[in-house]
């Protein structure tokens, strides 16, 4: 009897492992393996004219942190990603709340409207921003026509344009994550707080916010990682002089052919993102 049971359990275990094999294999082959290779490359030396030369050196990492230019790109990336994430959280929360609590028949339509920006490719979206924000764009032209300004405000190819662009792309991720968490908080819990004498703002800080923390954390981490790794938006809206880590890495690989240094920057970006995420998580869970 027990033998039979054990046999049956073994079989079940075998089926389970067979079922998760393809996904596991895919992750190992397409993610972990290339990463390991990339890390190995980042320890190689780069000799102009000979490209990559086998070595075991930390020179690429030292170069990054000793050259103020590269450090400034890292800090700019962190700054842009942080501002975008905070903005997405501030403007995304009310929207997510309304979406979560609405009884409207058009709820699904509203959700599609939130996701709609993601249906548009990066190039098309960037073209849209150019048309609206450029010196001869809709915004500047109408401001001049109305007499608010004399000369166009320079928005395209500035940090502001990149911020706007990344927020627009990341906002749906934040809103959808928050919405699903707020939906899981019973409306009655809010009503209980009201009936006990808590005005809306107090209710928000003492009940809704602490209960939504898991969603806030997930949404924040998601948007932060996306912003840290942004590539298309900085290229298209920031212009050639505006460098973030993503564009820097691409430049090293595709234009300079400096794979060891590109690999090193990749790992620095990955580590920084992971580190900041863990700090945020520890900070939030501690506070709770």
């Amino acid at each position: 009897m027990t033998l039979l049971n054990a046999n049956r359990q073994n079989k079940r275990g075998l089926t389970a492992s067979l079922l998760i094999m393809p996904a596991t294999a895919f992750v190992v082959l397409s993610l972990l393996l290339p990463m390991a290779i990339l890390f190995r490359y980042s320890l190689n030396a780069f000799v102009p004219g000979k490209f990559m030369v086998d070595a075991l050196t930390a020179d690429n990492y030292i170069k990054f942190f000793t050259d103020p230019y590269y450090a400034s790109v890292l800090f700019r990336t962190i700054r842009v990603a942080s501002i975008c994430t905070i903005f997405c959280l501030i403007i995304g929360f009310p929207l997510a709340y309304v979406l979560a609590r609405t009884q409207s028949h058009f709820k699904n339509l509203l959700i599609i409207a939130v996701v709609l920006p993601l249906f548009v490719g990066n190039a098309v979206r960037a073209a849209g921003w150019m048309v609206s924000l450029g010196n001869k764009g809709a915004f500047n032209q109408s401001m001049i026509a109305l007499g608010f300004i004399d000369a166009p405000i320079e928005i395209m190819y500035t940090e502001l344009a990149v911020l706007l662009g990344i927020i627009a792309v990341n906002l749906p991720f934040m809103v959808l994550t928050l919405q699903s968490v707020i939906e899981s908080i019973p409306r009655h819990v809010e009503e209980a707080a009201f009936s006990l004498g808590a005005p809306p703002l107090k209710m928000f800080w003492l009940v809704l916010w602490p209960l939504a923390i898991p969603g806030i954390l997930a949404g924040t981490i998601l948007t932060f990682i996306l912003a840290m790794n942004a590539y298309a938006t900085p290229v298209l809206l920031g212009g050639p002089k505006f460098q973030m880590m993503g564009t820097l890495i691409y430049g090293q690989f595709a234009q300079q052919n400096n794979w060891p240094f590109g690999g090193a920057i990749s790992f620095i970006l990955m580590t920084t993102t992971l580190f900041l995420t863990l700090i945020a998580q520890a900070f939030v869970t501690n506070k709770k």
């Binding site: 019973p186 819990v189 009503e191 707080a193 006990l196 004498g197 107090k202 003492l206």
Partner: protein, 360 residues
């Protein structure tokens, strides 16, 4: 603690009137129950009192003061929800203290009142627990303590027992009633469970389709149901369709001649009889209505027996016998004597209250 008045309270969503012209007075310290099937408007009425739903018209007065437009956080109503609605991230003591913090009660006083409220529901030893570490019954008692701690003008209970199992439900409802009496709290409870309603209420309001059908104490509702709906919703009744022939005589559609004591106008009518007012066997002959019929169905309920007796093609009456030692269970198909006093029958005009609820 204060009295509560509802004046022509109405709530419409578009053309749909969920609560229609509800007026009632609840005296200070009274336990009132809003009773009715789901969708009858009882919960919406309660939520209007709490301030979660804005009335379309009408007024709500607490202690004579109009609070119709006040937001919920300025009403001082203690509310207990069906699903407890405790704050999952706070301990039991923090949950109970929440309302006191909002009222800026100083911390020594706060601690004392939290302790008192938890003692009242016999949970002072679990003050440090989180809601998820407690049973449903305990959670509901915490919710009650939380609502009591703010010393509310009105205590509102929204089906507070329906998530508990039967045994616990009886316990908690007795506990709620005792506390309410001890504290002299003006209390409104919403439920669809008539047994629960009858146990705790000073007075009951039966609602159906957004309307108040009847307001009264338990005896009023049970002995003198205002309409066919109340007769079917409070307790059980067998209904016989027919018409009044005059001189205390009622004729059923299948031709049975039945004596009735209360007269209404001539014409189509429904006669309602409570199962426990019917007699079976030789004792039936002493009643002024006695007939013979066939036993169609017997259900054994433990303390009682329900005997379904067919009297005519369209007439069936249920007799409830209490399960005494002497009771002999009739066999299916057996011909039996059945009788009831003409005073036990209730008459309703047929065109009224047709949307009966669970009639027999």
């Amino acid at each position: 603690m204060a009295s509560l008045d509802l004046q022509s309270l109405t709530k419409s969503y578009g053309d749909n009137r969920v609560v229609a012209d509800v007026s009632l007075h609840v005296a200070q310290g009274e336990f009132l129950v809003l009773l009715g099937p789901s969708g009858c408007g009882k919960t919406t009425t309660l939520r209007m009192i709490a301030g979660f739903v804005e009335p379309s018209s009408g007024n709500i007065l607490i202690g004579g003061k109009d609070i119709t437009t006040l937001p919920p956080w300025r009403r001082n109503c203690g509310m207990v929800f069906q699903n407890y609605a405790l704050f999952p991230h706070l301990t039991v003591a923090e949950n109970v203290a929440f309302g006191l913090q909002m009222r800026k009660v100083e911390s020594i006083e706060q601690r004392k009142r939290v302790k008192d409220a938890l003692t009242m529901v016999r949970l002072e030893h679990l003050a440090g627990r989180y809601p998820r570490e407690m049973s449903g019954g305990q959670q509901q008692r915490v919710a009650l303590a939380r609502a009591l701690a703010i010393e509310p003008d009105i205590l509102l209970l929204d089906e507070p027992l329906s998530n508990l199992d039967a045994k616990l439900r009886e316990e908690v409802r007795v506990e709620i009633r005792e506390l309410q009496r001890k504290l002299g709290l003006t209390t409104i409870l919403v439920t669809h469970d008539q047994e629960e309603a009858l146990t705790v209420a000073d007075r009951l309001v039966v609602m159906n389709g957004g309307h108040v059908c009847q307001i009264g104490d338990k005896r009023d509702l049970y002995e003198r149901p205002a309409d066919r709906f109340v007769a079917s919703f409070i307790g059980r009744s067998s209904f016989i369709e027919g018409h009044i022939k005059g001189q205390g005589l009622f004729e059923s559609t299948d031709g049975l001649q039945l004596k009735v004591s209360r007269e209404i106008n001539l014409g189509p009518a429904t006669l309602a009889i409570r199962p426990e007012r019917c007699r079976l066997g030789t004792s039936a002959q002493t009643c002024d209505n006695h007939l013979t019929g066939q036993v169609e169905f017997v259900s054994y309920l433990g303390s009682a027996l329900d005997i379904h007796v067919r009297l005519g093609t369209q007439t069936k009456v249920i007799v409830q016998l209490s399960n005494q030692e002497s009771v002999k269970e009739p066999q299916l198909g057996e011909t039996v004597q059945i009788g009831w006093a003409s005073t036990a029958g209730l008459l309703y005009p047929s065109d009224q209250g047709r949307e009966s609820y669970g009639g027999l």
